[in-house]
Symmetry: C3
Subunit: 373 residues, 3 copies
């Protein structure tokens, strides 16, 4: 892992996606079906499911999913639809079940593992196959302290190691680099939900490049002076942006933050690493905390982004740390919202252009196109 | 008319409609055109049109219709569209006309019977056929004190006796049973308008079965204990659900209601009868009052339900009676709203299942399918 | 120019457009593309762009356009889309630029004439053609003190003289008649923005005929008694409606207005002239002021109308003058809003009819149909 000064060799402008990719309802529907409902997506902090019976409802693609921790301590996910007549099993965003998942319409009752265990008046009917009427389970994994699910309908979901862990390894150079942060041991100190009037791909593209940093992120470029040059750290394997000499910590005014997380290597100190895990997760690593963004696209021009700030347990008074990236978020999402309307213009019919420091966005475009093909 | 204890013989689960039937815009448009604009629908209490010139505007399918009582005392219905340039003739929900229906845009003027009787500057133009430019009349009948209309465009609407009266006879066993309530002589004591975020068919299905009663209707099952068993009274010709021993009346807390309506037979006393008149009316009969629901579907996922409580003239202090079914309504519509989102899920792509006590809902599904075919 | 008393010779009723022309999304999209994005449209008062760097953003068809006055004093118009990644250049409705048009996302910078003059990190890249990455300019003309633009994509826009000036000449008989008002020298005294829930064509049709005047415009027919007869002044070349004997001025209560504008001919005094410039401008001339309506269609059933009242510089206390046409506007737009719902009715499937004094509206319908063909 070395901190190189970026020197791009490609000098021409390359085209972006066309504007309709960001506005068409049919493109968005295809993305929901072929990207968000087939990929691993990060949907909840495992610690939010505090104990047996704790549940959360989340949206993935066009589906509502119930996450529930079983009496065996394992988190499972089910489509939030009763097998009888289709009522939602859980309508609250989060809560605590007593013993089972019971539909509030006709009282069909499922164990926390999803089996149908009771249905009024059906006790004496041998021809109702209770196993066959269990809830629809979704693929689920826990990693970095988060619950990841995949709605892939085939038997085998895509490889979690390739798609999720692989994205991190490709960025950092190895898996150890992220394990040292021990993200799963950190505590949630702040969560902000942003409702952004922009297509999800504009938000990904924005996160992937730093050509805009000098223009819209004064606080961030103060802490990370190399970002003012416009080269995305993400472009270089293993490179983390170095804190500037005046920045004591990753805070809104450069004041000191907290103790370095215990497992970090020395070359991870005083550096910021940004990682994109397609299609909807951004991980941001700094020495004393981790910031995780999760996106939920709701419409071609609307995306909800939830951002978690995670610190070592026991840390308090995180305002100066949180405020830095909260401002970055607001600045970025504002830029995305200013960009969305132009996607409908005849001026963007054939798309725009990527400058050299944005060329890696073309890989993201290819990734999207491949999945929609 | 006998009160039998239901003993269903079919034990298997049978499929419902698929989820798209409750969400697709094209299905909804077809239903508006082929069901709501071709069937007899109940649109107003005749008594609401108090005298000559009294009018109401109502929505049927995708049309606005003006109901107006003529100087001959007869209620008529017309498409609410001026024949000149299309302006709405009446924009208020209800009101009183002085003498004619006059368009407020260019003053084309129609008699209360719908003929064009005046148009500025056209007095000397013999080639304008005033008869040909009368308002578009709709088929209209009065029954049970209500105005029923049919927008069928052919000369002959479907038979009112078969479709409307027939539905009641099929349920109660004969026509006399409902005539004894003399619904037309009752007075409106309360009207509540519910704006329900669910497809109209979910509301019909909910009304047709009582499998949900034990789960969501504690007050109702207290008064009608057999409803706790989950068998819909509607399934058995002539059967009315008997009041429980602790229920002095059909009230929210079982207190006594009012005197039995004068014409009732003894075997109609202390019983509740529910009748579904497709596509949009529910009639509820109890000894001392009648409750009528009328639905207006506005979108695949939005239906307005107006509910009238009718009592013998002179009755006052109806709160305990009204509160019972008002709560039932809120409980039912809440269940329907919890069900609507699941209709879009892949889990409901092939629909759900009907348990034996819901099997008669399949007849409703077949009725809908036949009309859309 | 002579004031004739209208005597129409055509007595039959002729058909209008069918209802779907006012409601279908596909018709509206075609109108945006083939009418509003290809015609000359009036978008701003030139005086609103007060000096070099002053800008306004306006909507034409489906496009956002930036109007900006250059350092040479010339107003230019550009699609409001950065050539880099599509962000909007100006997001405020109006404002003052310092020196350039700079994109707030990545700081691509354009001169007030639209050339790309700077882009971060691209200084040493000879293969980026800055001329090729200038803003997309639109055709622009100034006339009557207003900025008119045309988004026609071909090299040559339609002839401004034929389409815009020609419409005025056709109505007034010659060009001198309007030049005498010296509209460009007048000052904006009042601007009202009306958000109308009706199709733009209903608003045009309403403006073109006066058959409705007796019914809905009591104040206007008081000032212009011949309007009570229902004949549209627009139908007769050069005819202006004469003020009634009791009207000292074009005011809400007939009180005197202001001095006659200096250039007017005697036969223009005490007369009202209405001019329709397709597709979206109405000009109203009275001796002491000029009223200009500009429409922006936003949806099949939604149109924004901006109305300017222009008086000689120095005039004050214009309330009684403004109030007259403000009331006319409210009366007209209310009528249009009452008409819009009927466009969806089966009763208007084949359209309505035009009476003789409305027959000239058929020319407008033919004009629309020709452009959509």
């Amino acid at each position: 892992m070395t901190a190189v000064q970026p020197t791009p060799v490609v000098s021409s402008l390359v085209p972006t996606l066309s504007g309709s990719a960001y506005t068409d309802a049919s493109v968005f529907a295809a993305e929901q079906e072929r990207i968000f409902e087939r990929s691993w997506t990060c949907v909840a902090l495992a610690a939010d499911l505090t104990g047996p019976g704790a549940f959360r409802t989340v949206t993935v693609g066009r589906e509502s999913v119930v996450l529930v921790r079983g009496r065996d301590g394992v988190v499972r996910g089910f489509l939030n639809v009763c097998r009888h007549r289709g009522a939602a099993l859980c309508t609250e965003e989060a809560g605590q079940l007593r013993r089972n998942l019971q539909c509030s319409y006709h009282a069909w009752t499922y164990s926390l593992s999803g089996e149908l265990v009771a249905a009024p008046n059906l006790t004496t009917m041998p021809d109702v196959d209770r196993a066959a009427y269990g809830l629809h389970a979704v693929h689920l994994r826990e990693w970095l302290g988060y619950v990841w699910i995949c709605l892939s309908e085939g038997e085998e979901p895509p490889s979690f190691d390739d798609e999720v862990v692989g994205a991190v390894v490709e960025r950092l150079g190895d898996r150890d680099s992220i394990e040292r942060y021990d993200v799963g041991s950190l505590s949630l100190a702040r969560r902000v939900r942003y409702d952004v009037a922009a297509n999800w791909k504009l938000i990904v593209e924005n996160f992937m490049e730093c050509y805009h940093c000098a223009t819209i992120h004064p606080e961030l470029t103060e802490v990370l002076p190399e970002f003012a040059d416009g080269f995305a750290a993400q472009y270089y394997v293993g490179h983390g942006a170095e804190f500037g000499p005046d920045a004591a910590g990753f805070t809104v005014d450069g004041r000191a933050g907290f103790d370095r997380l215990p497992g970090l290597a020395d070359d991870q100190d005083r550096r910021y690493y940004a990682i994109t895990i397609r299609p909807q997760v951004f991980v941001n690593l700094v020495p004393d905390h981790v910031i995780v963004h999760r996106m939920t696209p709701l419409a071609p021009d609307r995306t909800v982004v939830e951002c978690d700030w995670l610190f070592a347990p026991g840390v308090s008074d995180v305002d100066a740390s949180v405020e830095l990236f909260h401002r970055v978020n607001l600045q970025d999402f504002d830029a995305c919202e200013r960009t969305q309307p132009g996607m409908r213009s005849r001026a963007y019919r054939g798309g725009g252009v990527l400058v050299p420091s944005e060329h890696h966005i073309a890989e993201f475009h290819a990734w999207v196109a491949e999945r929609l093909a």
